[in-house]
Subunit: 222 residues, 2 copies
C-alpha cells in the first residue's frame, strides 16, 4: 500500500520532530522537502536538512531554490538591510515574517505530493509559539487543504497534517527526546551559521523550550 | 487611493485580456507578474510578457524563475520526454496539466500583493475551455482566496478576480478586439517559439476562437 508523505523540513527542531512523527508514529515513507529562499542561514539550514533527511531514510529528497523571495523582500529573514530583532518577542507580526511563506511552501508541497502519489503533507507549524505569523494558524491550514484538494486531480485527495500545532516549545523538546530525534543536527538561529546567536526570536524560543524541559541544548552558542 | 492589482500574465490571449480588463475597465495600476517554469516556449512567452507589460504601463514587473517545475516533472509542458498531444482535445485531464500550477502561481502572487499593498490579484483562468485543469475552476479560486486571506496580515484582504472564467474563446477574442488588446503580441503555442504549430491544444483553442469570432489571427502559423 502506498503510504507516502511529503514532509517540509526546514532543518529546525519543529519540522524535524514533525518528520519523525510522520515516520515513526504514522509509519509513512518520507519524501523530504526543503526550501532555500535566500534566508540568512540558508547554507547551515540546508546542511541540517540533508543530515535529517538521511537520518529519516527519506525515499526521496527535494531541495528547492526559491530565489524570488529575495526579490519580493519585506522581511528581515531575506533582506539583509533589515536587522533581525534581538530585543525579545512582542505580540505584533514580527519583521521576520516572510509574506505568505507557508502558503508558497504548501502549494509546492501539493504539486510534489500530486506528482509522487503521496496522500499527506506534514508541516511543523506551531500556533502558540509562532510569533504571530498568520500562515501558521490552524484555520489557514484547514482552508489551504480545501483549496489544494479542489485544485488537484480527484485522485490526489491530500491531508495536511500538523502534529505540532498545539504544542509549546517545551513539549516539542520533550517529545523529540522521547522519539530519539537527533536535536543536535537541527539549526534554529535566524542570524548566524557557525554558532547560534542565542538572542534572535528563534534562539530565544529554542532555549526557553530546553530550559523548561530541563535539558541542555547540545548545539554551540555564541 | 491605493488601487494596485497583481496581474498574472503568461503572454497568452487570456491573461493579456485579463490585464487589459484590470487596467481599463477596473482602473487598476498594474503589477505585472510572469513565471518562467521551464515550459517549452519559455523564451517566447517571456518576450510576449515584456511587450504586454509595457503596453499596459505596468508600474512594476516581476519575472520569476521557478526552475523546480522541471524537477517535479509529470507534464508534457515541462518534460521534453513527454510529447505534446496534437490529436485534438479530449475530456480527460490532459498530459499538459502541470501539478497545481495555478496554486503555486497564486501563492506567489499573494506574497507579492501583500508586500506591494495590492488589494487584488487578476488571473485569466477560463473554466469551460480549460481542458479539464482542476486548478482553473471557480470553486478552487474561491477556496484559495479564503486561504490567502487567512494566511496573510489582516490588512492584506485580497480579492482574486477572474474576469474570463465564464467566457468562451470566441468571447475572449471579441472582447479583446473591443478593448484594443494587441493580440498580435500574445503567444499561445505549447510547442514552438518561431511560428505557432497550429495543432497543440492551445493553438486549436486559439484558432477556433478566432474562427468563431470571424476574425483572422495575425500571428504566424506553420
Amino acid at each position: 500500500m502506498v503510504n507516502k508523505a511529503v514532509c517540509i523540513i526546514s532543518g529546525g527542531m519543529d519540522s524535524t520532530l514533525c518528520g519523525y512523527i510522520a515516520k515513526y508514529e504514522d509509519q509513512k515513507d518520507i519524501i523530504a522537502l526543503h526550501f532555500n529562499y535566500g534566508q540568512r542561514t540558508q547554507d547551515r539550514e540546508l546542511k541540517a536538512f540533508q543530515e535529517i533527511a538521511k537520518s529519516l531514510n527519506a525515499i526521496k529528497s527535494y531541495s528547492i531554490d526559491l530565489d524570488f523571495f529575495t526579490a519580493i523582500g519585506g522581511s528581515a529573514l531575506t533582506d539583509t538591510r533589515i536587522d533581525v530583532p534581538k530585543e525579545g518577542i512582542s505580540d505584533d507580526i514580527p519583521i521576520t515574517y516572510v509574506p505568505f511563506r507557508n502558503g508558497i511552501f504548501l502549494s509546492i508541497a501539493t504539486a510534489i505530493a500530486e506528482k509522487e502519489g503521496a496522500n499527506s503533507i506534514y508541516i511543523g507549524v506551531v500556533e502558540e509559539d509562532s510569533s504571530g505569523y498568520p500562515d501558521c494558524r490552524e484555520r489557514f491550514i484547514d482552508a489551504f487543504e480545501k483549496a489544494a484538494n479542489l485544485g488537484t486531480k480527484p485522485s490526489t485527495n491530500l491531508q495536511i497534517v500538523t502534529p505540532l500545532i498545539e504544542l509549546k516549545k517545551e513539549d516539542i523538546v520533550q517529545k523529540a527526546l522521547a522519539l530519539n530525534v537527533p536535536l543536535e543536527l537541527t539549526w534554529s538561529c535566524y542570524e548566524r551559521e557557525d554558532v547560534a546567536c542565542g538572542k534572535c526570536d528563534s534562539c530565544r524560543l529554542r532555549l526557553k523550550g530546553f530550559e523548561k524541559a530541563g535539558v541542555k541544548d547540545q548545539i554551540p552558542y555564541l
